[in-house]
């Protein structure tokens, strides 16, 4: 073994990580080479100096701050509400996007030109609404009613009100402002049964998605609550050796004993 190879493995030799055969070869080389012996001594000295570096041990302030951060982490309200809000916002955005896609342009509240849809024609697709409606069903019914008033078959064929309220014109923005005015009030065409059925089917899917989203959110909240409770119980038992009283109000204990 020459000096170059020996110096490459001196660290491993020092660490005892060389196999017996290589170890013997290095030993033989060291007995004959003063330079490599000096290198080994230097490496050994540096390792010894490093191992004598002061050790930073956790004090009372460290554990107090750690406990404080642990309690902050396990605040269930903020975590759950954050997730809930994001999930609810996502679901609401999806529902709003679908609603805006399906609905025709807004018309004045005074529905003088409301199309005549016979009761038997609607009875097969939309039951009579209950007295107290959920938000999803209300949304579905609004979309349903709007769709039956003026289905967006062709934008150029859509009925345009002669006197549109200012508030609606502003709300509809540029599209409404640029829309050509109709010379006269025209009656909206009645929706075909196929259109009504398509809208009803889309709304049924929307309601299903909203229900599933709500269920998933509920499950997530319950699961998170269970995890938080498990974490709290285990932490209290884990830190019991420090004689820290169980924290129930989210406050950090003032002192602890080892």
């Amino acid at each position: 073994m020459n000096c170059v190879k020996a110096k490459d493995v001196l660290g491993m030799y020092l660490d005892g990580e060389l196999r017996q055969r290589h170890r013997c070869a290095v030993q033989e080389h060291l007995e004959a080479c003063e330079s490599c012996r000096g290198e080994l001594t230097s490496l050994s000295s540096i390792s010894a100096r490093l191992s004598s570096l002061p050790v930073c041990e956790p004090g009372e302030a460290f554990y107090r701050r750690l406990f404080q951060r642990v309690w902050e982490q396990r605040q269930p309200a903020s975590t759950m509400s954050g997730r809930y809000v994001w999930g609810a916002a996502l679901a609401a955005t999806a529902m709003l996007a679908l609603f805006l896609t399906l609905r025709p342009p807004l018309e004045p509240v005074e529905q003088a030109t409301r199309p005549a849809v016979s009761a038997p024609q609607m009875a097969d697709v939309r039951p009579e609404p209950p007295a107290r409606l959920s938000a999803a069903s209300q949304l579905a019914q609004v979309a349903d009613a709007s769709a039956t008033q003026a289905p967006p078959v062709n934008p150029s064929a859509m009925p345009k009100p002669l006197t549109q309220p200012r508030r609606l014109r502003v709300a509809r923005g540029v599209t409404a402002a640029r829309a050509p005015r109709s010379p006269s009030v025209e009656e909206s065409p009645s929706p075909t049964p196929q259109q009504v059925a398509a809208v009803s089917e889309a709304l049924a899917r929307l309601s299903t998605v909203a229900q599933e989203t709500g269920d998933a959110l509920h499950r997530a909240v319950v699961l998170q609550a269970k995890r938080q409770e498990t974490a709290r119980e285990t932490l209290e038992s884990a830190f019991s050796a420090f004689a820290v009283s169980p924290v129930t109000t989210g406050e950090v204990p003032e002192t602890h004993e080892l």
């Binding site: 540096i46 974490a231 285990t234 884990a238 050796a241």
Partner: protein, 177 residues
């Protein structure tokens, strides 16, 4: 408590009382390593606490591929690198008398402080990966296999990186003379 430490507690004994011992042990381990890498007690405590919280709440994945202590070293190492990158400054060595274990003998204390300051300066001149590997080997006493798990590198890379780190450290120490 997160699944990481909970699983470790179960693996070791299953006794709830031991968990506090483990928390204490891992806190010491994380803090010592972070302090040697960063050279500053305040930053080291912050990093060690963050690593322990990640362990307690299972934010970082612990897949039982290695010992929990090895996993914790890796988390601390990554947090130290993040801290150094974020602050974009050289580590600031602590001058806290408690850290240097000054005992009242002026001459010996002075020599001790100089010795530690020299080592600290030499360590700070190393790249973070070199600094970590030499600390874990020579201060914390990890084996080559454990180093391989901490840094997720092949054994040959462990050997060459450690060799290179020692060479750099020796050059830095010799440059001070």
């Amino acid at each position: 408590m997160g699944p990481a430490i909970a699983a470790e507690v179960e693996r070791v004994s299953g006794a709830a009382r031991l968990s506090s011992t483990l928390v204490d042990q891992y806190a010491r381990q994380a803090l010592a390593f972070a302090y040697h890498v960063l050279g500053n007690r305040e930053d080291a405590e912050d990093v060690a606490q963050e690593a322990l919280i990640r362990a307690l709440f299972g934010r970082a994945p612990f897949r039982h591929e290695a010992a929990f202590s090895t996993w914790l070293y890796r988390v601390v190492h990554n947090l130290c690198i993040d801290r150094m990158r974020a602050e974009k400054r050289a580590p600031c060595a602590s001058l806290d008398a408690q850290d240097y274990r000054i005992n009242g003998d002026a001459h010996r204390d002075f020599d001790r402080v100089l010795e530690i300051a020299a080592l600290r300066q030499a360590l700070d001149s190393l790249p973070p990966a070199m600094r970590s590997i030499i600390i874990l080997r020579d201060v914390e006493g990890l084996s080559y296999d454990e180093l391989k798990s901490v840094f997720r590198i092949p054994l040959g890379t462990v050997k060459s990186r450690l060799n290179h780190a020692r060479r750099l450290l020796r050059q830095a120490l010799e440059a001070q003379k």
